[in-house]
Symmetry: C2
Subunit: 314 residues, 2 copies
């Protein structure tokens, strides 16, 4: 059994793994090579290095462990045809992402960007409007692992949560649920509109001009899912027309965001360079998900944690 | 019965009050005058306008309602001698202050100050170290109404809480309690050291050089209580010596902070101009505390909410 990591975990994380699974040949090598791919039974990857072409070399490959949540860049069709099992680290992002989202929300409510600017001028001033998160209402598009974690934290702050997904079916930490087709009616209630939706055909341009028009004038709109959710021109128009109060964006239609995008400089827009899931504890957590699956795999089992359905994209 | 407000609540908050208590003569007037003070049975004040001199005119005064938490500026001795009842809005600050503290903590952990700077340069970069609040430990000096509220929120983020007060007696939302004299032993465990202590003789310069020396090198030190907690020169030395990771200060020995204070420009220091308790909902909440007390007062009762012991300073 040969397991090929296309990235190199830190020494202190790698050693216990090698020790625990002494029957396995591990290869840790940053940057994928077709040579190693040919020999691998299992590939552990961030999911951005596999493509239709190099996958042809992976003749022994039976399982891909993706240390990431999105798989848009993976050659889905080829993987499905080859019958390769794919599992990922779904849920791994929930803690850093939920913390990032709460950080942004609270920073805005408690006027931190203003405060930082005052400090640069060595200026003692109390002339700023600060509001509270408490008693507000948040609409969460995509209350899955991450969205529910945000809901849990928002509840602690006394926020009412409205979850919104395709079916309108119950989700944890949501006070109310609505389906995508009732979104327009729910939006006017929300002080915070927050998406963590994955990229699928259904979520592409789900939000349109009409949706921004019915949002509260001081609503904070946050996209921490995927950039396909809204046509950036539609979003820019809504911001310029003061239809919303703030936009906090961690994802974009094109990444990196073009240097000349108006989003960089529009007032009340926060550009987060798709780093909300980053954490110094990321690899540690990935390996903690990988290990129990590897134990099962070595026993010949295939009901691993977080097996993906590539045909649906998540 | 004449009640003298030395500030003017918004029309929409003032009207229901006047209506509800039609038997009372209300005076709303920004800025205290001895003329009005002479006629007042009750004074509602932010607590900064009363002094030993003007109090002599307040011959009818029996109750001072302070729409603030600190009373350092009040003429304590004269009030005690005159037997005037003082009650305040203890706890009113807990929501905005706890939200401010969480905002600052999360902003640091999730690198928001860095992100804002990148955006100004229109620079897409992911090169930043972000950590997590989850699984860290916070030491809370003064786990009263505000400190406990911070503890409650920190718990939601998976933070271990150590409370520290004079006696070491139990406080809500604290996993462990220590007394002031065990502080030195508890400090090395804390990733966040947070004070909301009031100004008293005991809290003055409670933190000394030795305390900063035992803190974690990356600890976030936050003073949201009163500036007397630590000699600013001691704090500045600790920051310059990299004994702590961050200092977030909402209170100072002298306020406003002098324009030439090194705290404005030291790296990893956040200056918040004593605004952490500010909220657009402040007066609304004060009146919600005042009203039930006024009902009691009109019935001749004196066991009001939040009666203060001025001899202890809180």
């Amino acid at each position: 059994m040969r397991i090929y990591f296309t990235f190199e975990p830190r020494q202190d994380l790698r050693e216990p793994l090698v020790e625990e699974f002494s029957q396995v040949d591990f290869v840790f090598q940053s940057g994928l090579t077709t040579e190693e791919l040919q020999k691998a039974d299992v590939v552990v990857t961030y999911g951005e290095d596999l493509n239709e072409e190099n996958l042809q070399y992976a003749t022994k490959l039976k399982w891909i462990f993706v240390a990431s949540a999105g798989v848009e860049k993976m050659p889905a069709q080829a993987i499905i045809e080859r019958g390769i099992l794919v599992s990922n680290v779904r849920g791994i992002h929930k803690t850093p992402m939920a913390e990032s989202m709460l950080a942004h929300i609270l920073a805005i409510k408690r006027a931190l960007p203003w405060m930082y600017e005052q400090q640069k001028k060595c200026e003692w001033s109390k002339k700023v409007k600060q509001t509270e998160l408490c008693d507000s209402t948040a609409l969460i598009l995509g209350p899955g692992a991450i969205g529910s974690e945000v809901g849990r934290l928002l509840h602690a702050f006394g926020v009412q949560t409205i979850g919104c997904n395709r079916s309108g079916q119950k989700a944890p930490h949501m006070d109310v649920m609505v389906s995508f087709d009732k979104l327009l009616e729910a939006l006017p209630k929300a002080d915070i509109v927050l998406s963590v939706l994955p990229k699928t055909r259904e979520t592409t341009h789900l939000l349109k001009e009409e949706h921004f028009k019915v949002m509260k004038k001081n609503a904070i709109f946050m996209n921490f899912g995927r950039g396909n959710l809204v046509d950036e021109q539609v979003l820019i128009r809504a911001i310029k027309a003061d239809e919303i109060g703030y936009a906090v964006l961690d994802v974009f239609e094109q990444e990196p965001l073009a240097e000349n995008s108006p989003l960089w400089t529009l007032p009340n827009v926060i550009v987060s360079p798709h780093v909300s899931s980053h954490s110094s504890r990321y690899v540690e957590r990935s390996l903690n998900i990988f290990k129990p699956s590897l134990v099962k795999w070595l026993d010949g089992e295939t009901d691993l944690e977080n097996v993906m359905d590539l045909s649906r994209g998540y």
